[in-house]
Amino acid sequence: MIKLKHVNKYFYQGEPREVHALKSIELEIERGEFSVINGPSGCGKTTLLNAIGVLDEITSGEIWLEEREIAHLSPREKTEIRLTQMGFVFQAYNLVPVLTVAENIGFVMRLQGYPAEEIRQRVHELASILQIEEKLDTLPSLLSGGQQQRVAVARAVASKPKIILADEPTANLDSKNSIKLMEMMKRLNEKEGITILFSSHDAYVVENARRVIMLDDGALV
């Protein structure tokens, strides 16, 4: 489903403090996988995830999403790819502060032009799975960290993307909420068949992933 061919990423290229953040990455992720990119802090986990999510430019190489090379698209096409094919869960939740929980969950669907009734149904369905039904009319600022992260997950999966990219989603959560989140992600992976790719150095996340992709100093181990 996703194929990375000889992907390199340099920061400060050509400058004295040049960093080779991703070193000739060759990686394939199959449809329906539940994988985690693991490694020490600063090894390039987030950089790799951002590259796959076409959030960041790579210096060289290719990234394929199914039959399409996506690393070298225009910014507009990349935005379109992120909107229609990918879901994102960030460490800092990153919800839209002026929208309610229900509006945040349905936001990506709305951007994709789903009918209002379908959005409403899907929001309620996800809120029920993620146990945030009673919070649907609440603003994100009034939720706990765990609740906010569940809303972020719901937003990411709402429009049934092909892949969910989650960057350290448990980093700001306590262990109880981390376990809950992982269980929910697993359930979504099994129930919805969504490919999920984490970056994490949380032991619990690594233990629960079906595949662990080890990264060290920008290179796959």
Partner: protein, 406 residues
Amino acid sequence: MFRTIFAIALKNAFLRKSRALLLIVMIGMSMGVMVGLEGLYDGMSLHMIDKSIRSDSGEISLYAPRYRLENDIRYRIEDAGEKVARLQKIPGVRTALYRLQVDGLAQTATKSNPSRAIGIDLESEKAFGKFGDFLKEGRLDFGKNGTFVGSELARKLKLKIGSKVIFTAQDSQLNIQSIALRVRAIIRTTNLSLDERGIYLPRERVAAFLGLDPGSATQIALRSSGENDPLLKKEIQNLFPDLKVYTFIELYPQLKQMQSMMDIFNAITFGIVMVVVFVGILGVMYVSILDRIREFGILLSIGYAYRYIRFQIMMEALFLGFAGYLLGALLGFVLLSYLQIHGMDLRAFSEGLESFGMESTLYATIKASYFVSTFFAILLASLLSVILPLRRLKKLNPVEVIRDAQ
């Protein structure tokens, strides 16, 4: 989709209540004062034009050729009554009258001043320009040997109601004639030439004094519907080819100049206020966008296109601008309504104002155009003010923002 963006923009625009309120009040106050000044400037010039039309020229005046150059009763209009009757039959002419004027000297026992006897028909003047409005003191009744004098002339000659004044002029036979008159009323038109020199008399009396036929006139003036005075002028000129026909603007070019000057003042005030609005919205939008850089980064990363962000920011600026406009329109309307009824009392500066032919109380006028033009200008200022913040956003790399946030 656009409904969602609209909703986000609306919420974001008023998210920081004190900041939004401050901006709205700033726009509202500036616009309110601007509309107030605009109405006052316009009111001032329209008031002067209206007084000049009513007290003297009407919308159109007719003179014998050379009269306006020589100011001599040799160049007079004969059978003016019959001509007025013909004029009144022309569609577009509301009313018409004729006057007989002669320059001379007004004297008291101790003072004298150049003046002009204006022979009028009081009832026609009332219908023509609400002559009663110009009464400052006394009664509008000539009685026997009565006269009305201009307020400035009365001041110079120290005339009061009941004072005696002698008017001396050359008659049609070139003899010097004098007439003794009793002041019955003091007239104030704010038309300087009339207030400084006017000695009003019954028209027949002036005709007899000058040894002329009662149908003689030096001026025929008419009030039109004002819809197309140049066309009406042409029609009248064709009807009376032996007379010279002038529109009000041709007779009072200085008032037109003053109106143009007021328009320039208005345009300058307008420009200053729009710069204030522009800078105000620009500042608030810039700070607001910098505050929310992370939010925009998130939105971009989850597939919210830059064009949606652009639309959202524009809507936010428009909401703020529009809220300011509503407040400004309300303030402006209240201010203008007050100034239209009660006026602005500038009696402290009355001497200076009156020397320019202005009233010491200035009254405003209200025109829909003040509110319409301001609406579009604020709309434009709001849209222009987001160009700079949007350029900043255009350079935004979502991944950097998200990285910074984490």
